[in-house]
Symmetry: C2
């Protein structure tokens, strides 16, 4: 029987490789031999007329029986297969769009068509991890010109779903990041929706930082909503704050981010395309971009920020949306918490108008909310900042915030992790400098963002006067191993907080 000769039965192995698709076949398997498959080959695996590409691992020791093959958990899921399904296998034709990435390495510009093919192939799962790493590296730094960034933005918009709201104005905001604890989004959304504008906010998870806005909000409410659920929330409350990845507005981006994270690389052009493609796919017409500038923020100089602003304006214009870029202070963390739960605590404190609430976070949220109100009302003489301030102080923003949380699936208080280590000043003086990157790294080593309660709670912003022995910050972790690891790193970096 032909099918019996060309297929293997799927057995469940239970091997979690994250998103890397792996197929496990026996060394003595007749298909491996007849097709000439070797370990680490990329292979097309088909079941029930659906195919994926997977990397081959060869089993030499009888873990699986003759006539069977296994898949990693992600491959199992992508293939939508079940135990006992018949799998067939063939060579993968080389991915044609890799050719344009090779040309790019040699300095050739990528046109719209090249970029669309690359992004489509990435979304279809045709790229191996090393091929994605090559694409990211070839486009990293300032290796994409303005035409390529526009092309990439278009390609990313085309590769995913698009939302429409049937409203003339739909606003949005985005922060370029690199500043720990900079969690203005929930506050801004609460103010803006209360004001009456529509803001269907999707946020990302952390790429290289200790927390993304979605990670933070997940400690308070449900953020994995599908498109229908989002529509209901926005219809009811004018806005939402959900994770963008769950609704596949820019599925390519979600794949690229995994490898960017592993390489610890953020690419300028890919960042602009990623941000704007998500805004456009979400149906936004007016977008405020916040770029914090500081020695240890993601954007370090006004010059770099100017360049990004130029790109955001030009790409936004060519895609038909209004973009306003704000430069903000990136010299120190905003708020006190660094890590999902700890940042969520800051957010709630501001929304509740508590007197110990971090004022820097409060002011920054008002500044952004004000800019959105101004951008959406170019004819009006109203002062956006003052309007935002009134809404927040009145307690109406907090009411709106909890209403949105309830519409999204519920409200809960964020919590601290079990293990804690306090770090004290080793001399007296004034805090003159805070290294954001290294402080973020302490939070990451402690487990953030994957352990949502882990991170750093900073007690001493810039210019705080200190006595020797005063508390500088606390590290929180869910495991002893991670706490120890963060503390050990601190020993090698004694100057994260400079006291003079």
């Amino acid at each position: 029987m032909k099918t019996a000769f060309n297929t293997l039965k799927l057995v469940y192995l239970g091997i979690d490789t994250q998103k890397e698709n792996v197929v496990f076949m026996r060394k003595d398997c007749h298909i491996c031999k007849s097709e000439g498959f070797e370990a680490h080959n990329r292979i097309l695996v088909t079941a029930n007329n659906h195919s994926i590409i997977a990397t081959l691992f060869i089993i030499t020791n009888g873990i699986i029986k003759d006539g069977t093959a296994g898949l990693s958990d992600s491959a199992y899921e992508d293939l939508n297969a079940k135990e006992g399904d018949e799998l067939s296998f063939s060579h993968v034709q080389p991915v044609a769009s890799m050719r344009s990435i090779r040309s790019k390495m040699y300095g050739k510009e990528l046109n719209d068509n090249d970029l669309q093919n690359i992004i489509d192939d990435i979304v279809k799962g045709q790229y191996s991890n090393i091929e994605i790493a090559a694409f990211i590296t070839a486009c990293a730094g300032d290796n994409l010109n303005i035409h390529e960034i526009i092309g990439l933005t278009k390609a990313m918009v085309n590769s995913g779903k698009k939302l429409s709201w049937n409203k003339p104005i739909v606003v949005d905001k985005h922060c370029v990041g690199g500043l720990p604890g900079n969690r203005t989004t929930p506050i801004v959304v609460a103010i803006i929706t209360q004001y009456g504008l529509t803001i269907p906010k999707t946020s990302s998870r952390a790429i290289t930082s200790p927390a993304g806005t979605a990670d933070t909000l997940e400690t308070i409410t449900e953020v994995n909503l599908d498109i229908n659920q989002i529509k209901k929330v926005v219809e009811k409350e004018n806005g939402c704050f959900v994770w963008g990845g769950s609704i596949k507005l820019s599925p390519a981006d979600d794949i690229l981010i995994r490898i960017e994270r592993a390489l610890d690389v953020d690419s300028e052009g890919q960042m602009i395309a990623s941000v704007l493609s998500k805004k456009i796919a979400a149906g936004s017409t007016h977008v405020v971009i916040d770029i914090p500038i500081g020695k240890t923020a993601k954007v370090r100089t006004e010059e770099d920020a100017e360049k990004l602003r130029y790109y955001f304006h030009v790409v936004g214009k060519s895609m038909g949306i209004e973009v306003k870029v704000l430069f903000t202070d990136g010299s120190q963390p905003i708020g006190r918490g660094i890590g999902p739960s700890l940042e969520a605590m800051d957010v709630l404190s501001v929304l509740r108008n508590e007197k110990e609430a971090p004022q820097d976070l409060r002011n920054k949220a008002l500044y952004i909310a004000g800019a959105i109100i101004d951008l959406a009302n170019t004819q009006s003489k109203e002062n956006g900042f003052n309007t935002a301030e009134k809404i927040l102080s009145s307690g109406k923003a907090y009411e709106k915030f909890t209403a949105i949380c309830k519409a999204q699936g519920g409200f809960k208080e964020p919590e601290y992790a079990i293990y804690k280590k306090d770090i004290y000043a080793d001399k007296s003086g004034i805090v003159t400098e805070i290294n954001n990157r290294k402080l973020a790294k302490v939070a990451k080593l402690a487990g953030a963002p994957h352990d949502s309660k882990a991170g750093v709670m900073l007690q001493t912003p810039l210019n705080t006067p200190l006595n020797k022995g005063d508390l500088l910050f606390s590290i929180y972790a869910e495991t002893e191993g991670e706490l120890k690891y963060a503390v050990e790193y601190l020993k090698t970096e004694p100057n994260i907080i400079l006291i003079h």
Copy 2:
């Protein structure tokens, strides 16, 4: 007991991942939990005071027992471990040298120190595949300047072993490649050693081509010699032809090549550093570099070749060796065979002075051997080409060739693969163009180089007059699947051999 808490017992799984080190741990493992390990994390695995870095796959289905962990075959080997050994695990500190690769993406020049650190870390196995892909991509095209190429060459020389021969002149040759069947090395070595010069030739395996010189020679003799064996052969016969990878002259290069092959990328700077570092490590003083130029060869224009020549001269000079670069015709394959065994047949035919031997291969080998003789004897008025021709015609080169083979471990005749498909001309005319790249691809799809007997035997060089139905070439394969795959590719590429 502390060790019992912090360690797991190694069980043998028998999973071949090629060179990718993978560690398999249970999801409910106490170490995963206490250390906060997640699937696809990079983890330091230690056994018997020896450590490797491996990628974590999480087992969710009881393949391994509680208290145990598994390793991929390569990790097993690298760690020099055996079943039952106690393994301990910890987080990997981020590889510090990746920082300079990120700077390189942003246009910063890599200095000697940066490059040495990168190469040392790669040799130590600290880089994941995607990090290696990022390094290759960041250096691809013409992204390395002359200082960086010199730095990379030095770093590669320093990272491996070095040979010395106690002779004033040690010669060598290298072909930049991209030309199928261009197998002059065995012939050149036979002539040069017979002439009396020392040529301890190390060759590579294929990167993206259907056969490397080492792959070809392996079908005739033993090429995996260690340094002591090589020294004995060279002492006895003046020269050798061995695989360079087995003696770790440039171990970084062997690691980089795996990923270059998967990405199908050759980087100019890395190629020069790779070639010259191996020559220098092998103790050469005088090196002839052959650059075939042709529309479908690796180097397509005289301009590109001039640039490579400039780099080879400058880097060679700065490393203290004499380099002579030859430009040769790259418009069609040299010889008839494409694939290890088939190319070996051509080599033997020339050495045996058979009248049907491919004259292009014979002439090219004589040209290169002549250039080496001339480079080593700048004072002499002797004509190198004529000297080489006499040695070959006399049969002394063949005698010397078999003597070297015997010294390396024996001589055997190369063989054809089992499955064969003949391809015929679909019209009459003259062969006006041969697409080297696509012909090489047919040979690769048929199984070359991993199936050493597979490949293509070309019957019709440029300008051959043909009648419809004449044999153009034969495809050889070890499996029906591969033969079918090669033939299917041919259907999509009808113009590999142009007839007008």
